[in-house]
């Protein structure tokens, strides 16, 4: 890695850290579990590194390591996004209910 690329990478890292701090400190405790599950799914982005290793390298060992890495990273991505969506769906359906709740309360 040449110095210019390194410096650019450090910039990206620092800005991402800053941005992450700004965005994530606004997430309410209510959503901390989905947040953890979502960031975990997003960090499954190491899948793209795994894809390159599995498909574009030239030794058999690297192919096999890459294949295992693709598998675990895909579990992370698919499972992570799937379960996050399942959780957020539960938080989302609240909307219509809170509308009906006061009505049923008033009738009693």
């Amino acid at each position: 890695m040449n110095p210019a690329v390194l410096i650019a990478s450090v910039y990206v890292f620092a800005l991402a850290a800053f941005l992450g701090y700004q965005v994530i400190s606004r997430v309410p405790p209510l959503l901390h579990t989905p947040l953890m599950s979502a960031t975990n799914a997003i960090s499954g982005i190491s899948l793209i590194g795994s894809l390159v290793l599995a498909g574009a390298s030239n030794t058999q060992v690297a192919h096999i390591l890459g294949c295992v890495a693709v598998t675990t990273a895909t579990v992370n991505v698919v499972g992570g996004f799937g379960i996050t969506d399942r959780m957020l769906k539960m938080f989302g359906k609240r909307k219509d209910e809170s509308k009906t709740a006061p009505a049923s309360g008033a009738s009693k």
Binding site: V12, G20, V27, H32, T39, L51, V61, T74, G79, G82
Partner: protein
């Protein structure tokens, strides 16, 4: 650069933007789900971009990995119950970190010889963090799932041994960094990092799991970010850093909620000590009959439910919602008080109650609800212990002194649902149980709540 490479870089940029927007959406439950669709789109774009632009020559391994991974992932996403969310998340951290570690090893095998000093350093971090997060997360998942005992595992000289392991790991890292041809040092580092992950988590008790989960989340993200440095790939750096910082922020919040430092959580072995500090509280715990408890609840003006990990183990989230609805139909104001570290991971209780269709508008955070307790008729504690222990506030000698608590003892009366007379995970005596306004209701939380609901209907 070829056209396909430009296309690939464009998808990476798109993915980075979409990831940030997704996390921004997380600031409100109404926008969170839409945000995650953006993130999913970003991930898909990055994958397609890579497959098109990365000069893939062999497809077999990729197709096998993607297929097997998707099947396992989809199965996990559909089948895991909400009560098992902490262990699923821990397992997922292990998978992600393992992928990062493997990419590191693969990168070492294929390009190890021509790596510059910076890349080698990043590679070392990637492999170390990836490996220790893999085993650490597996141990955490085992503890959370009950395969491994939740009590801290400690022995004499543990911290000294851990220090030696840590030095061995960093030592082989430095050696590999200085001597790029030292293949043995690289694999020693990898092996020792696996061991270090185990050693790091076994001394930590189940009650401290929210912190450990957040830390492992952070490490898994940083491992991905280090991968980005190794491959010179910005989307990996961005996504990994977002994850790393999210985990870091959560760990800090969790530590604050327990009034403890991260070092204390990691090396304190909390929960192994049977405290004597407040054992003299003495007195008797007053038991209450189901019908009396139902009577109290039915004629109250306001009730606050305080859920803890016991709610999760008893799977009582639906039962508590049914009881709450019954009370609401009688005109009782029902609220839920959620302590930041209730349960085994950040936000654990919120997810369980959301699953049971409890409206999130009736879930209150600690700071919001504490002033409300004095005007509350009945506080119902369901399987929570340390987070309502008044010793944290009143007894400076207590092990949990200074930890912010839900001040249920200030409400007019308290009903504690508890499995038995034993102490909580931390082994601390809880003076709340001996207060004159507290009454105990023993038994499995789920069946107790069901019976309470029936009794309320009869009132």
């Amino acid at each position: 650069m070829s056209l396909t490479s430009y296309f690939m870089e464009a998808t990476y940029l798109l993915a980075s933007i979409l990831f940030v927007l997704a996390l921004k959406g997380m600031s409100h439950p109404e926008t969170a789900r839409r945000g995650m669709f953006l993130a999913e789109g970003g991930m898909l774009a990055a994958i397609i971009g890579t497959l098109i632009g990365a000069h893939i020559v062999t497809w077999g391994w990729i197709i096998v990995g993607l297929t097997v991974g998707s099947i396992i992932g989809a199965w996990m996403a559909v089948s895991v119950p909400m009560t098992a969310m902490p262990q699923r998340t821990a397992l997922s951290h292990a998978f992600g970190a393992f992928a990062a570690a493997l990419v590191g090893v693969g990168e070492f095998i294929t390009h190890g010889a021509e790596m510059g000093v910076v890349t080698r350093g990043a590679l070392g971090f990637e492999v170390m963090l990836g490996a220790l997060t893999t085993t650490g997360s597996l141990i955490a998942a085992g503890k959370l799932h009950g395969i491994i005992h939740g009590k801290p595992i400690q022995f004499r000289g543990q911290n000294a041994i851990n220090l030696i392991i840590f030095l061995a790991m960093t030592g082989s890292f430095v050696y590999f960094w200085v001597h790029p041809t030292a293949i043995a040092a690289f694999y020693t580092m990898l092996g020792v990092a696996f061991v270090f992950g185990v050693m790091l988590v076994i001394p930590i008790g189940s009650a401290d799991m929210p912190v450990v989960m957040s830390l492992l989340n952070s490490y898994a993200g940083l491992a991905a970010a280090a991968t980005g440095f190794v491959l010179g790939n910005n989307v990996l750096i961005i996504a990994g850093t977002l994850d790393g910082f999210s985990g870091f922020i959560l760990s800090v919040l969790m530590c604050k909620a327990m009034n403890r430092s991260i070092t204390n959580v990691l090396f304190g072995g909390f929960g192994s000590v049977i405290a004597t500090a407040s054992a003299e509280t003495g007195g008797v715990m007053r038991e209450i009959s189901l019908d009396d408890a139902a009577m109290q609840l039915a004629f109250a003006n306001s009730v606050i439910f305080v859920p803890g990990y016991g709610l999760a183990t008893a799977q009582a989230q639906h039962a508590v919602r049914e009881l709450a609805e019954l009370l609401e139909s009688r005109g009782v104001t029902v609220r839920y008080a959620i302590h930041p570290v209730a349960g085994r991971m950040p936000g654990h209780m919120n997810v369980l109650l959301a699953e049971a269709n409890v409206p999130y508008s009736s879930l209150y955070e600690m700071e919001q609800i504490n002033p409300e307790f004095p005007s509350t008729d009945v506080a119902v504690v369901i399987g929570a212990n340390d987070v309502v222990n008044p010793d944290a506030r009143d007894n400076p000698n207590s092990l949990i002194a200074g930890m912010p608590i839900l001040e249920v003892d200030r409400s007019k009366s308290v009903i504690v649902l508890k499995r038995g007379q034993g102490r909580g995970f931390s082994g601390l005596e809880n003076p709340l149980f001996f207060k004159p306004n507290t009454s105990m209701l023993y038994g499995d939380a789920k069946s107790t709540l069901n019976h309470l609901a029936q009794a309320v209907q009869r009132v």
